[in-house]
């Protein structure tokens, strides 16, 4: 591979990587910190993307649509967690198999529901920054990727600050560390976790909007993102936000390099390859606790 091509692949990879971090922060929260087997996370992303597309029919910018939908997703997340807690966490035994099967089923229902409602066609969003690109010397940077890059940085940094500086954020980290100790301090761990799951779901609205900005979306897309999001969340070291950004960048660059050197059809296997490698070699991830 020529140096020029490599440089281009690297830059594209960094942009893509920030986007991957953005779609994975919710999972880092829900799975990494709360240890909910949230295999439906990618389906929530696709749901967010369809929400942005639907609002786009009324000439609303996809990013704005994502922000508008976030409160709705937040409430949806609260409800899902409450239900999950009542049915599985409280009953204790056998949460593993049943919790997994539950979220797997939810993901499946969302996918098929979207197919029934909108068909299997790919959907695209419209915005002034989609389709344009920025010329930088020989290189062309698609504006949509730059927008996604910016939003992704804001989202990860914002969440990172929220978790380390704000009171509720620190409560979330506390519940991840020691639930019983938190309860002894007079806080209700279930409510803290519910709040955190709400936030995790709300990020799916914004990240879903990014999904449809970056490329066309179809109902079955969630499956590809199971690999990518879990790869990022696990590589990050569960629950670490700076780790999520770093892991996203690693995945983005790796995928981009494979894309330019081997071809597009191999790209989906990259995330899973890295994931298996991390699980085998260093299950605690880069920034593991």
């Amino acid at each position: 591979m020529s140096p020029d091509l490599l440089l281009e692949a690297l830059v594209a990879g960094v942009l893509l990587g920030a986007f991957y971090a953005a779609v994975s922060v919710g999972l880092s929260l829900a799975f990494g910190l709360l240890e909910v087997p949230h295999i439906a996370h990618p389906a929530f992303l696709v749901l967010g993307a369809y929400g942005a597309w639907l609002l786009g029919q009324y000439a609303i910018d996809p990013l704005l649509a994502g922000v508008l939908l976030a409160p709705l997703f937040f409430v949806f997340g609260l409800a899902i967690y409450r239900f999950y807690h009542l049915v599985f966490e409280r009953r204790g035994s056998d949460t593993g198999l049943r919790g997994l099967a539950f979220f797997f089923g939810v993901a499946f229902i969302i996918e098929v529901g979207l197919i029934l409602a909108f068909g299997v066609d790919q959907r695209m969003a419209e915005a002034p920054y989609i389709g344009e690109s920025l010329a930088l010397g020989e290189m062309r940077l698609p504006l949509r990727m730059l927008v996604a890059f910016g939003v992704a940085l804001l989202l990860t940094l914002g969440l990172s600050l929220y978790l380390s500086r704000s009171f509720p954020g620190r409560a979330i980290r506390a519940v991840a560390q020691d639930q019983v100790a938190l309860a002894l301090m007079g806080a209700d761990p279930v409510r803290v976790k519910q709040w955190a799951f709400g936030i995790a779901t709300a990020t799916c609205a914004v990240a879903g909007a990014l999904l449809i900005i970056v490329g066309p979306v179809e109902p079955g897309q969630g499956r590809l993102y199971i690999g990518r999001t879990f790869c990022v969340a696990v590589l990050a070291g569960l629950g670490s936000m700076p780790g999520t950004l770093a892991a996203g960048l690693i995945l983005g660059v790796a995928e981009s390099v494979v894309l330019t050197s081997l071809g597009a059809s191999w790209a989906p296997a990259v995330a899973f390859g890295i994931l298996l490698l991390v699980l085998a070699v260093r299950p605690t991830g880069l920034f593991g606790r």
Partner: protein
Amino acid sequence: MTVRWRMFLAGGALLVLGAALLTRLVDNEYFFFAAYVVLQFVVLASAWNILGGFAGYVNFGSAAFFAAGAYTAVALLKAFDAPLPVLLLAAMLVTATMGLLVGALTLRLRGIFFSIATVAIAVICETVVVNWAYVGGARGTSVLQPAPAELFQTYTRLLFVLMALLAVLAAGVARYVQVSWIGRGLRAIRDDEQAAESLGVPTLRLKLFAATVSGGLMGLAGAPFALYMGFIEPSSVFSLNYAVSALAMPIIGGTASWVGPVLGAVLLASVQQVVTVTVSSELNVLIVGVLLVMFVVAAPQGLLGLIARLRAGRAPAKPAAGERHV
């Protein structure tokens, strides 16, 4: 051999004979086409349950095993025009080896990590097949059905009887695993792997065994697929529908016993066949998803649990003793 085993074998033999008899009695070719699918899901569900239900390791990648079986057969058909028994044997060997590797993963991966790894294996297998031009790549390839043997009018009928045989085999293997010491060991692993290990249960050997057997049976279910359809493409054999059904059917039927997956598969797959024909194929996958969530939430013991409760004559859905209240 115990009396119950004799009953099982007699029942299985009767079933296969009955299937063979049906190929003489029923004229409607579609009946065999649909019944083949139902039996195929009996095999898949029974196979999934050996690792997922008995040992508690949730495999989301059943489609990969099914597809690996199907594509092994296709590759052998293309290369040597190999006969059906060879296809079955080869498919089983390939997917049993895959199962062994998956079993090795359980060394380090538990719970959701294991499940995600199985999704990974499915996607990697799909990527390999899509890039494998010899068996048609992403476009798929068509396979000619050979002429049926003397005994059967059409090749689909032959495959239908074969699948009935495989279904009995899968249920028999599942039953053997369940009632033998292997099943007790697997249940111990499911309930508490560390405790089992410390009490001298050979956890690793048992997990490797369960994963290998489960994988091999799934490959058997997939091996005749290309011959049955006459055509194979990655998107149809790697379909999420197989992964979901292989897991939903045992959970809906009840994972505690070999009967559960058989019951779940027969009921659900039959409903699916009817709905696909009368309404739409999207709706039938939706039904599976909704039923899966409903059963997981409201009837974790599956249909078998519901039946047992009805027999005991107690009111359903009382929380179990020793539940923590918040």
